[in-house]
Amino acid sequence: MKDMSCKLLVIGAGPAGYVCAIRAGQLGIDTVIVEAKKPGGTCLNVGCIPSKALIHAANEFERAARLADGKSPLGIVAGAPRLDLAKTVRWKDGIVGRLTGGVAGLLKKSGVKIVEGWGRFIDGKTIEAETEMGVQVIRAEQVVIATGSEAAALPNLPFGGAVISSAEALALTSLPDRLIVVGAGYIGLELGTAFAKLGSTVHIVEAQSRILPQYDAELTEPVTRRLRELGVTVLTGARAKRLAPKAGGLLVETSDGQAVTLPADRILVAAGRKPLTEGWGLDAIDLDMDGPFIRIDGQCRTSMRGVYAIGDVTGEPMLAHRAFAQGAMVAEIAAGKKRSWDKVCIPAVCFTDPEIVSAGLSPEAARAAGIEVKTAIFPFRANGRAMTLENETGFIRVTARAGSHLLLGIHGVGAGIAELSAGFGLALEMGARLEDIAATVHVHPTQSEGLLEAALKALGHPIHI
């Protein structure tokens, strides 16, 4: 095949790569993107989007089931719901198909050339892509590595057979009767909760002493309570040892040292994700690493001139919106603009039940950094809109500098609270003070009033509590 050359070559069309390529195309840079699979990466194909589809279906099913028992205080009685999981998965696949097709269309519209194949570095400026038509050599002035991440396997529980990763869990067409989830991070909890709502018996095995160990206990407490309500058994401080000798179970060492066998049809290993640093020729260019990740600076530059890295391969937090922002920034840097990573925060959401939003510093983290803080919580049980939605669990919490009242963090837990994350992020990026929030008119009746009230409470004069 004839060699190609371009100004900017992006390896991987996940959230980091495709945004980088589209933005570069918009800026008139001659851009090529290499991707072996469908565009959209983990996020669109086997991550954020399909899991949100499954969670929505599970919520709807669970709601219908609650109406069927005749005890709904709303006075609604409905028949017992039935689930056609294969149809649910087809619906989910339809959404994924629309989105990945949309990304391909956006890439083309912005003038980006797409090479379908597996790319591999020959040197810092040359990539070989294995395509269906043969090996395509691409030479580029600047290269962006956006190879993403993959589910981390446990050595004692390799994927295969009953042991599945989140990608396979999202494609199951029949419901497992008994599901064990290894790992109580956000992926394990989101999927474990969804399967429990759909009717599986779910056990969650977590080595640490509590669920969602990256979040503070105050935030995760309502999630723990809800899991108990849903009949999910959470074993904390427990270690998944290996498959039980007889088929269909997992050997677990519990927190008190006892060995128990949990029966299971499927074992979902959600023990985090690891950067994809193999199989694309990293050894050919020998970049400086930062642990398992590629080391980058404030402009996503690696240790090699003209080679950038963005997205999950560059480290935590491994989130699509961080990848989007890095991708756009690198495209602008490649176009000669002055850009540097200066975000105040990268908000994060767990689509658990209830949802958790984290933006900026928690009170603990701020105090640990030696900052004197003012913090206040407004519970949704004092919020009218939350009552009318039967969403009284949870709260919004603000954390600000004690002296200047500059907001350092806004956190919350509650049903549907993910949509409030934009406001949280905006307040932090704009450098808002508690007084700014307090003086902003918030719509009544909405759950967002919780932010206003939390700010007022931190200032010492809440109205509704």
């Binding site: 600076d297 001139r305 000669g336 002055k338 105040v344 500098r401 002296g403 990026e429 003070r433």
Partner: protein
Amino acid sequence: MGELVLKLPDVGEGIAEAELVEWHVKIGDLVREDAPLAAVMTDKATVEIPSPAEGEVVWLGAEVGDRIAVGAGLVRLRTPAQERVTATATAREPPMAAAGAAGHTGSGAGARPSAASRNEPPPAAIRPPEAVPSQPVEGVRHSAAAPHEGGKPVASPAVRLRARDAGVDLRQVHGTGPAGRITYEDLDAFLARGSRTAPVQAMQARTSVEDIKLVGLRRKVAEKMSAANTHIPHITYVEEVDVTALEELRAKLNLEKRQDAPKLTLLPFLMRALVRAIAGQPHLNALFDDEAGVLHQHAGVHIGIAAQTPAGLMVPVVKHAEALDLWACAAELNRLAEAARAGTATRGELSGSTITVTSLGSLGGFVSTPIINYPEVAIVGVNKITMRPVWNGAEFVPRKIMNLSSSFDHRVVDGWDAAHFVQRIKALLETPALIFVNG
């Protein structure tokens, strides 16, 4: 207490040393992690060196203007940590304009340490936190260089973007908003201060001699000029051009132009004339690699326009003038001049010329001896337009006359070529219709 020696990081491809152009700290300063310590300049860019850790500056390894080898000690910090470590900071690629703006934003003499204090780190322990006036004292140390509590300046994303485009380090800007937030107006005020001139002193005999070390852009200009003048045997050729017709045309075009069209100066006409003259003598639009003995003759005409900016001499480049019409030349010229003046021109816009025009406008004088923009082979200097009496064979008539003083690299351009080139430009400018006629 630990000590940390920060070494000059590898700031660029194949660069073995860099020039220290500014200290942001002095001995005794408490710095935070990531606070800018110094700015160094390489052939390619000015690079900010951030602090790898929090600590007290106890030793500075160089003075402004010194050339420092990559890997040489730059700063010694006394850190709260126990161990003594050596760090190589990651260099932060900075805005282009930082090169020029350094002289305006820097802390000047206060940042220059005396030789004695540089070599003798004082054995003082870290001082207690310095309180920042009007802000409450908090449990975090403030450094003198970073007036923003928590180290990171508080500013909205739009303000941050604008600062980045203007090459301003927000840590140097005083925020007047709530919680020290930097507003748009604060940035305006900061940028305005940057171009303020020193007050004029009263009349008196002065006997002092000030030694001014050439640093940053000034030093680059000096090096480039001496390289050009040492390497290139210049031949300078001066000819007068009757621009009466051209000035009439220009005035008419400006009078009747569309409102959104740029105002025409003489330069766009000269650029179009250059493009036509180069079509006949393409070897004058070239870069001469004298070591390899190769003349790189370019098909694209990229005209550098020497311009005086607050930061010093800059040469923004109008790329592909052959593909731009008169109005497009004028628009691009305006845009670049504005960007160069504002310090927002990108490196791409300040490099890549194949021939240069130098014009001082009404300061253009009668004759100049332009120095070629090495490694180009020709530079066209524009002198002032003056009304002069010209004998037309029957009487003296007032005509607008302008001299062109042009220099050529005599190694690759013969006198005949030079004369022919300038005569061709003269013919085009004297009968401006020729500029626009094909063939």
